[in-house]
Symmetry: C2
Subunit: 291 residues, 2 copies
């Protein structure tokens, strides 16, 4: 089973059968809808690539962290799509959770996914000899989601009359990428702080790519509404730098991410993954222009 398949298996097992369990049926279906079929699972893959680059020990805690991070990401999408935020009718090419299940169930599905994420780390912590390391991983993950610097805080900057734009981007997207890299390292007993810059640069790259997609792509290409930043008055790299400027920034951030890889046995593999990803990030309609 490859890495991505194993993540999908952990997520599916954690969520359980949406039709056959003891969870209220609408909640169970909404949680599954939010998580599967997923996107590129970029954050858990980053977490696991970091863990693999750090050593060859037991990867169980790293998989728990990676899956928890993906659940937290999915939870944030469910809540961000709700009418009081983006009011987005589509996500990953399908109706968003609240469009299918209504606002109350969507709100609860997000909550339940956050709880489930931490439960996955708790399961790892409860195993003999893993507790203290799992505690460190849990703290990294919690800080990359909550206040003051996590994705929830990033989203909250959108509600402020005066926005700290750097803090907004660092929290809203960067935090969970930096946390994914740091958690992968911590799960293997490596120093998490050495890995944060790599995650942060990748997070910035994804934010710029997302901005480019929002500004230029057609809806069918994104699987979610396009031109939302302009409609909602949010900062966007294309508005700030122009399209060519934003594409150049994306390339330079991918390069910076590669340079931020700490010395480690798996550095070459990690470099190949990052450069491959940075090509995938450019919308198909711009691939020629970017080359």
């Amino acid at each position: 089973m490859n890495t991505l398949q194993r993540i999908e298996t952990i997520l599916a097992r954690a969520l359980g059968d949406p039709e056959g369990g003891l969870t209220p049926p609408l909640l169970a279906r909404a949680m599954n809808h939010a998580v599967s079929p997923g996107g590129a699972r970029v954050r858990p893959r980053l977490c696991l690539a970091t863990a693999a680059a750090c050593g060859h020990g037991n990867m169980e805690l790293a998989f728990a962290a990676a899956s928890a991070i993906e659940l937290l990401h999915c939870a944030s999408l469910v809540h961000d799509d709700m009418p009081c935020f983006d009011n987005a009718a589509t996500r990953r090419g399908r109706p968003s959770v609240h469009k299918v299940y209504g606002e109350p169930v969507a709100l609860l599905a997000g909550d339940a996914l956050i709880v489930l994420a931490f439960d996955l780390i708790g399961r790892a912590a409860a195993r003999p000899g893993q507790g203290q390391k799992a505690g460190a991983v849990l703290r990294i993950v919690a800080q990359s989601v909550g206040a003051p610097f996590g994705i929830v805080a990033g989203q909250a900057w959108e509600c402020e009359p005066k926005v700290d734009v750097a803090m907004y981007h660092r929290s809203k997207t960067g935090a969970l990428f930096a946390g994914a890299a740091a958690a992968g390292a911590a799960a293997m007993g490596a120093d998490p702080e050495r890995w944060r810059p790599l995650g942060a640069k990748l997070g910035e790259a994804y934010q710029v790519a997302d901005d480019i997609g929002d500004a230029v792509a057609e809806r069918d290409e994104l699987g979610k509404p396009a031109h939302q930043d302009e409609a909602l008055g949010r900062p966007n790299a294309v508005r700030e730098l122009g399209l060519d400027g934003a594409l150049a920034r994306l390339r330079s951030l991918a390069q910076a991410a590669v340079e931020a890889i700490p010395d480690c046995p798996g550095a070459a593999d990690l470099q190949a993954i990052i450069l491959g990803e940075s090509k995938r990030l450019v919308p198909r309609s711009l691939a020629v222009r970017a080359a």
Copy 2:
């Protein structure tokens, strides 16, 4: 410093200064508004009373669990009060969080409180020798909040066309009480399952007391809107059993809770706490009738 003061100190420290930190200011204020000044802090007190009854070891993990449980309870109140659920304008005698800070910030404040709760347990887990026990505590807490049996699932039963009423009550109120007692025991290395029935009975008692309050109290007495169950078509013990029947049920549940206390050094203290609480639960306007 007594138990309650120590809980307040942990909560205040975890939340940080709402005016001076790095959290987006509205989010920081909303999180504080949701937690302080609090209610009776019944769940953390139950958690700590259970822990104290189980032994005289280091109580740090028990305090972390108790504080986490209170944060999760507060988060659930913020989300339950929102327009897509109860649309409650007041809570604890003050405007509810979304009334003061708006829906987006209220939604995020709930999310951030859930994350902060697990971070508190993560801090305890990261200490030498505490990790595995903290992992067990985390799992108990997560299961009493998430799906299928926690308070989020309980709330989700309200969204189903066909409600399993027993499951609804057990999850919506009972789960976090049972979890509080079980987590207090697990934090001291005692068997959590022996303590669940006590918590569950107390949870039922609080639900009946809440139903009585909703049915008969005036708004100023509750600090939140009265007569909501009738308005929202929710199950309520007074509607099912009549007022005297509901009062009798409250007394019998308090007695059942006392009888569910496992053999332990602190049993007598715990019994006195429970009987005292069960008197406090009856609205003042009914105290004569109940006596």
